[in-house]
């Protein structure tokens, strides 16, 4: 039985990671072949950095990821604080509404956002004579939109764990509500806010469907570019850029975990040193 489950586990991991391993390996291959190993080389990486299309879309991707993560974190945190202060019934309604885009198929979110943008832009261009079109702006708005629910989901539990009287204690000591938020609430929920930020960043980097729907012809994210490249044929450049993406997300995840473990250990050590009962 045990052996069986071990085999099963191994198979699962093999299926999950073997393709990635192969992809990484062949990004260093010295030939175009995806089957035969011709020796180590970095030439695909060189070509990659020389490819303007890829470089341009990488810039767009990073910019959208950073901006949308930051903006979604601010809006999402404020929303979470607001929802936290609601009465039970209203809170339930809002959290349910918040969960819909999370569980929704991405294609639905993407298409509906696209329809919204098309409608709004044509309305604006008609009535105000503007010349808006889909591009970086709509892409950014779309990413902010789908990131917000994830930030809220990360921040809410931290607010729930927080001693509800902390905020009141700050007011009691003379703090204005706004400064009470920054001095007392934010430090308490900071870990949730930070995970929300990272999550938003990776989700944005990762996104393909919604970007494809909302970027129009004005801007392209990396995933969309890769997609259009492999429609013609898969070049090892694609392997190289995928490897880089995979590597950076991996490093990010490891960093977050290490940081979490470190801060937990620190607290434990402090408590042990103080001999708390």
């Amino acid at each position: 039985m045990k052996a069986l489950s071990r085999i099963y586990n191994t198979l699962i991991f093999l299926f999950l990671y073997a393709p990635i391993a192969v992809l990484i390996l062949f990004s260093f291959n010295d030939s175009k072949s995806r089957v035969v190993w011709n020796g180590f080389s970095l030439k695909w990486y060189e070509q990659l950095f020389g490819n303007e299309l890829i470089m341009e879309s990488l810039k767009v991707t990073l910019l959208v990821a950073v901006l949308s993560a930051l903006i979604a974190t601010v809006i999402g945190t404020m929303a979470a604080v607001g929802i936290h202060g609601m009465n039970r019934k209203l809170k339930k309604v809002f959290l349910t509404v918040n969960n819909i885009p999370v569980n929704n198929p991405e294609i639905v979110t993407g298409v509906s956002l696209m329809l919204l943008f098309v409608g709004a832009i044509s309305f604006m261009n008609h009535t105000f004579g503007t010349h808006f079109k889909m591009g970086f702006g709509t892409l950014l708005i779309a990413h902010i939109t789908f990131n917000i629910p994830y930030v809220i989901l990360q921040v809410m539990p931290k607010l729930r764990q927080m001693d509800e009287h902390l905020y009141e204690a700050a007011l009691d000591l003379g703090c204005h509500p706004v400064s009470a938020f920054f001095k007392v609430i934010l430090p308490e929920i900071s870990s949730g806010v930070f995970t929300g930020l990272l999550m938003a960043f990776t989700l944005s980097l990762d996104d393909f469907v919604i970007s494809l729907c909302t970027a129009g012809s004005g801007a392209q994210t990396l995933s969309v570019t890769i997609y259009s490249m492999i429609r013609r044929r898969v070049t090892p450049e694609v392997n190289a850029v995928s490897t880089l993406l995979f590597g950076s997300v991996l490093i990010l995840l490891i960093l977050v975990n290490v940081m979490q473990i470190y801060s937990e250990n620190k607290l434990k050590k402090e408590q042990r040193r103080a001999g708390v009962r």
């Binding site: 902390l166 009691d172 607290l267």
Partner: protein, 383 residues
């Protein structure tokens, strides 16, 4: 100097989700007073305190600080500080920063802050704890930090919501003394919430007994204990035997079919009343004198015995230092000042009967109740 009202609550009412939590609450608190709100869980003590602190706004009624109506003054502008039920220390700050928090908000000078923090920590016996994170402190130490943090702002009024509830008995007693001493030496008004009647009686200048969102009685600890206004107060503040009686005239009350002298007057002729007799006021004498009853249970309580005595079917609690075994027939004598008379209230008949104390379950059967008057009459007048 003492009798200047500093806080006035006028006709305060408040409901949560249509449920009345406070109703027609009137309370005046004087400068420098130690006032305790006392009552069972859920009676509205915390709610009252939160109205004074500014965290809740009453549905109707007014809150006055001195002559100013402050209903709409937010908490951060009120000259009061609160010690919360579970301290609410800031976990991300160390002890020093917690205590300094309020003064930093007020933009006090660094040197002044340092001096005040040092003075406060000295007062609560926490010198040398400045750099400690609050999560590394014991419950009692956290309690002290909360006190220091509140007092560092030099409040006119300190609100304390069951500040000692989480501490063990010994520590609680020590902290009671310390708090009382601090209040006296600083001359600050304390509004203290507790459901521990002993704590209320021993610390307060004025006790406010609450139940069901209403104030039952306001008075000094002695008044509240000796002159409870109704069966609820009599029962909540210490143990009481509460009997049905009839006020025949001033200073004459009839119960158990007999007439007793008492010190109460001002009732209507033949008014039905509640009669309170404190268990420690009752003198046990050899059988044949006064009322006669049978001991049905004895519990040793350290300082005294709690003796349950059956008088013609009604069971009394008596606290004595002498031991009277179960089954012994004893007599009791009541002096006029052992008897306290109260008007009937909605609490009448709900408290002050110790029948359920007994392990016996052959309780009063109907014939005994019939016997009550006859036997009492037959017992003659022993006074």
């Amino acid at each position: 100097m003492e009798k200047k009202p500093i806080i006035n609550l006028k006709d305060i009412s408040l409901s949560f989700d249509g449920e009345k939590v406070l109703e027609g609450l009137n309370l005046s608190i004087c400068d420098g007073e130690f006032v305790t709100l006392l009552g069972p869980s859920g009676c509205g003590k915390t709610t009252t305190l939160r109205i004074i602190g500014g965290f809740l706004t009453p549905d109707s009624g007014d809150v006055f600080f001195g002559a100013n109506r402050v209903n709409d003054l937010p908490p951060y502008k009120r000259p009061v500080n609160t010690i919360f039920q579970r301290y609410a220390l800031f976990p991300h700050l160390n002890v020093y920063d917690n205590v300094a928090f309020g003064m930093r908000v007020q933009k006090k000078k660094k040197a002044e802050i340092a001096k005040t923090v040092e003075r406060m920590l000295e007062m609560v016996n926490l010198k040398g704890f400045e750099k400690r994170t609050v999560s590394t402190l014991s419950g009692g130490q956290q309690q002290r930090v909360a006190i220091a943090r509140a007092l560092a702002n030099d409040p006119k009024v300190l609100l304390l919501d069951e500040p000692l509830a989480a501490l063990d008995l010994k520590l609680r007693k020590d902290m009671q003394n310390e708090l009382k001493n601090m209040q006296k030496s600083l001359g600050i008004t304390f509004i203290y919430v507790t459901h521990d009647q002993e704590e209320a009686l021993s610390m307060s200048d004025t006790v406010v007994v609450m139940d069901g969102g209403e104030i039952q009685q306001i008075g000094s600890p002695l008044d509240i204990y000796n002159e409870p206004v109704n069966a609820f107060v009599a029962d909540f503040i210490g143990e009481s035997n509460i009997l049905d009686g009839v006020m025949l005239s001033d200073y004459k009350v009839k119960f158990f079919g007999r007439v007793f002298d008492c010190l109460d007057a001002g009732f209507e002729k033949d008014e039905p009343v509640d009669v309170v007799i404190r268990p420690e006021d009752i003198n046990i004498v050899p059988a044949g004198n006064g009322l006669t009853g049978t001991v049905t249970s004895v519990t040793f309580k350290g300082v005294h015995y709690e003796t349950i005595v059956d008088f013609y079917g009604f069971k009394w609690l008596i606290q004595t230092t002498e031991y009277h075994p179960v089954g012994e027939v004893i007599g009791i004598v009541l002096d006029p000042d052992d008897i306290h008379i109260m008007h009937k209230s909605r609490y009448s008949g709900m408290f002050g009967d110790y029948s359920s104390y007994s392990e016996e379950f052959d309780e009063m059967n109907d014939p005994t109740i019939d016997l009550v008057d006859d036997e009492a009459d037959a017992a003659g007048e022993a006074d």
